[in-house]
């Protein structure tokens, strides 16, 4: 009997597994990439200036504008790093340049950033919503629309507790996205684009209406960012408040005061890390599209965040700006625009809806991002595999998601809805992850002298040595800001350092504990499996014949579809390829995956089970692991590359067979030409099988449709000169006319008719139409082709 498995090309009896190391991604345009980044970056416009003004005074908007201009240069550093590492990001870059220890520290800072992104976004969204509700109550009460009973119940105008209601809202949003991530939602660039389109509409109205208001009523000037105009509070001086009073420091040090104010405003550029994460998914030409993405997000955030910060001081009176609107400044701008109150209130409602969408999205991004980073760290052996154990039903890394969300929930509760405290702490993670990234890039200039796609300008050459002036300048600003923040943000320093130390210790201890276990596991794996690395999945290179059957596997407890396929296929004639898609979610995809990381303990268990199934049936299988951003896309691309004739899949726990086929079909449409059609067979429990053709194919025609076509043919061929017309000629003409009508004036009517047809349970329209066409007996001398045509 033949070996149940494809033998190794070498002399061992180990199972050969091909591990493809290039992730199969669906590529996106730079507009979509910019939308994903802006969902994170632009959300800070809703709270950054309020926090900065509380810390440094009325000239805060200038510092926000300065930070947004400086963010152009930080983005330049990220573009350079992405031109070196397609899967960049802080961990990858710092590890490459500075080693594992500093990489762990930088990831700890990044985790602190993510740990606060969710809470600050959720609480801020809550502040906007509760602010609107209270405003509506106040307006209603002023008009006498609030019943007396309600009025007396609240001892005056009904008002919700802003901070605690915001906490409740933030918890609800966080828990909602926790459940969505546990189920494994797909990060949609389309949704991000849609949110940014709505945000743009709001921003255009806001800026236009504000310009009109300024033109009509004038504005109050924003004090220039000079030391004289800085007003630090005891809180914003942090540890320095023990030495100096709030007013004297700026006068004493001058430029140091400017630096402190700048440090209090850096959270406005949070979200840059997302740029490195989406880089992988950018379509060709990658570098050019990356630069375009960077320009779009830089311009957008400068205009939206910068101008809205300036407008908040220009339009909202001093008496109410900080006391009433400090946590919902854009809503405050809406209330001080020129126009009737009802219209302003309606626009404020729109601002709140947009704020809810973009800030809620940032909560989700934080969970996805931190899950991705911890997954990557875990894959690298610095967290035990226990964290990555897949959810029994959904297959997601639920333990990491639970850990992240528990920390976020505790942060939300500890903040008690205070956006200022959250913002101050948030800045710690933001600035330190940027600082580590720029330091690493600076070190790489000297450590790695190879050609780069792009370099931060300017660069001079002295005695044959390159001096990266631009990169060093950006690093100096970041480092000086990070260091001054250590002194002025006492809460952030204590919380951030504690958090980073705890995470660093967990990483270090786990890594140490794992080292022995990994060495043992690696040896076991080497005993059983032979890993063959390939950059891409190519049929010839994998020695697989065309017309093979691809069997995707994911959960080692549900391999019934593999057994079903093997029992029916003679593997001497047709190869069976068992494939596991190693999903790198949005976030995790940013990091480079080594072969051993792609083929982890989980894949080892999964393929051991798959091999057992093959052995029990006595058939040969080929094993393949591919990293992927999206499972459907990975399956379709693999089937296409391997020239598979069929894909046999198990029934999803979340989707019906029809939904699975639809998802597969959509993924097929996204694959570039040339592409092949194949049959998708979904094996349900009890070995019931649903078959679908993926790609364009001859549709299954109903009898009524065949009858209608035949009657039309009988009639048409009686016309003079049309005796030779075939059935397919009629179909061609009908479809051409349909396409013309659909593309022109009748589109709505056609859609309406199709909807009605889909709803109707009675006899099909074609049947009724056919009955209206008089039956004509065919001429006795019909040609043979048409008989065959009808028969088929």
């Amino acid at each position: 009997m033949s070996s149940p498995l494809q033998p190794s090309s070498l002399n061992s009896n180990r199972v050969r597994i091909v591990v493809a190391t290039s992730v199969m991604l669906t590529f996106i345009s730079y507009w979509r990439a910019a939308a994903i980044v802006l969902n994170d970056l632009a959300s800070s416009a809703f709270y950054a200036c309020g926090i900065a003004e509380q810390a440094v005074g009325k000239s805060a908007p200038w510092f926000i504008v300065a930070v947004m201009l400086f963010s152009f240069t930080v983005r330049a550093v990220y573009v350079e790093s992405c031109s070196m590492f397609v899967r960049g990001g802080v961990y990858r870059v710092v590890k490459e340049a500075l080693g594992g220890t500093l990489a762990k520290i930088s990831v700890s800072a990044l985790m602190f950033d993510y740990m606060l992104t969710g809470p600050i976004s959720g609480v801020s969204a809550g502040q906007y919503i509760v602010g609107l509700i209270n405003e509506v109550f106040a307006t209603a009460d002023a008009h006498g629309w609030v019943p007396r009973a309600v009025h007396s119940l609240f001892n005056g105008t009904p008002q919700l507790n802003v901070n605690w209601t915001s906490v409740a809202f933030a918890l609800a949003v966080t828990l909602y996205y926790w459940w969505e991530n546990i189920k494994g939602i797909h990060e949609s660039s389309e949704k991000a684009l849609w949110v940014m389109q709505i945000t743009t509409v709001m921003a255009v109205i806001l800026l236009g209406w504000s310009a009109l208001t300024v033109f009509r009523f004038g504005y109050q000037p924003v004090p220039l960012p000079t030391p004289d105009h800085l007003h630090f509070t005891k809180e914003s001086l942090g540890f320095l408040s023990h030495i100096f009073s709030g007013q004297s420091l700026a006068h004493t040090f001058g430029l140091l005061g400017i630096l402190m104010a700048f440090g209090h405003s850096v959270l406005a550029m949070s979200g840059e890390e997302t740029l490195a994460q989406v880089n992988r998914e950018l379509a060709h030409p990658k570098l050019r599209n990356l630069k375009r993405t960077a320009i779009v997000i830089a311009m957008y955030s400068l205009i939206f965040t910068g101008f809205s910060a300036l407008l908040s001081v220009m339009l909202i009176p001093d008496a109410v700006r900080v006391p009433v609107y400090k946590d919902n400044l854009i809503a405050g701008i809406a209330m001080y625009l020129w126009g009737p109150q009802l219209l302003r209130l309606l626009f404020r409602g729109f601002v709140v809806v947009v704020g809810f969408l973009i800030l809620s999205g940032a909560v989700n991004t934080a969970i996805i991002g931190s899950n991705g980073v911890l997954n990557r760290v875990s894959e690298d052996g610095v967290l035990t595999d226990w964290f990555r154990f897949p959810h029994r039903k959904y297959g997601t890394s639920s333990r990491i998601i639970n850990l992240v969300v528990i920390l976020q929930v505790l942060t939300i509760l500890a903040s008690r809805g205070n956006v200022y405290v959250l913002g101050e702490a948030y800045a710690f993670g933001v600035i330190w992850s940027f600082t580590f990234n720029s330091l690493a890039m600076l070190v790489l200039r000297f450590k790695y002298k190879g050609i780069r796609g792009w370099k931060v300008p300017p660069n001079f050459s002295i005695a044959g040595h390159e001096v990266p002036v631009g990169l060093a300048s950006v690093f100096m600003v970041l480092l000086s800001t990070a260091l001054i923040n250590l002194f002025t943000k006492s809460v952030a320093t204590v919380a951030g350092v504690s958090f980073a130390v705890v995470f660093f210790m967990i990483f270090t201890v786990s890594e140490h504990a794992n080292r022995h276990k990994f060495a043992l596991a690696e040896q076991q794996m080497k005993d059983h499996f032979q890993l063959l690395q390939r950059d891409t999945v190519e049929r010839d290179a994998l020695n697989i014949r065309p017309g093979n059957v691809l069997v995707p596997v994911r959960d080692y407890n549900t391999l019934a579809h593999l057994r079903w396929a093997l029992e029916r296929i003679d593997t001497r004639d047709q190869d069976v390829v068992v494939m596991s898609a190693r999903v790198s979610r949005f976030g995790a995809a940013a990091y480079d995956l080594a072969m051993e990381q792609i083929f982890s303990d989980y894949e080892q268990t999964l393929f051991t089970r798959a091999v057992s199934v093959a052995e029990s049936v006595g058939k040969r299988v080929s094993l393949l692991v591919v990293p992927a951003g999206d499972v459907w896309s990975a399956i379709v691309q693999t089937a296409n590359n391997l020239e598979s004739s069929a894909v046999v899949a198990g029934l999803s726990s979340k989707m019906t067979p029809q939904q699975q086929a639809f998802a597969m079909g959509r993924a097929w449409e996204a694959v570039p030409e040339p592409k092949r059609q194949f049959v998708l067979q979904i094996v349900r429990p009890g070995n019931k099988v649903d078959s679908f053709r993926i790609g364009p194919h001859t549709p299954t025609m109903k009898n009524e449709d065949v009858l209608l076509l035949h009657r039309l043919w009988l009639n048409i061929t009686r016309e003079p000169g049309l005796e030779q017309v075939h059935h397919h000629d009629i179909l061609t003409e009908a479809l051409t006319r349909f396409a013309h009508d659909y593309g022109a004036r009748d589109r709505e009517d056609i859609i309406k008719e199709l909807r009605r047809t889909a709803r109707e349970s009675g006899p099909p329209v074609s049947s009724r139409t056919a009955s209206q066409i008089p039956t004509v007996q065919p001429e006795p001398t019909r040609n043979e082709n048409d008989r065959e045509d009808l028969g088929s």
């Binding site: 152009f72 430029l255 570098l287 950006v474 001054i484």
Partner: protein, 47 residues
């Protein structure tokens, strides 16, 4: 304030000042590059 504190403050100020000037140059040069790219006059760096 101690001498060490003053020294640290001066170092931070110097770093920030020099870095800001350099960053402004980065902003200008990369802005010109971006403008060229948007106008379609840049050579492609993509391999």
């Amino acid at each position: 304030m101690s001498i060490l504190g003053t020294l640290l403050a001066r170092i931070l100020e110097a770093m920030f000042a020099v870095g800001s000037v350099g960053s402004f140059v980065v902003l200008l040069l990369s802005g010109i590059e971006d403008l060229k790219m948007l106008l379609g006059r840049e050579e492609s760096h993509d391999s």
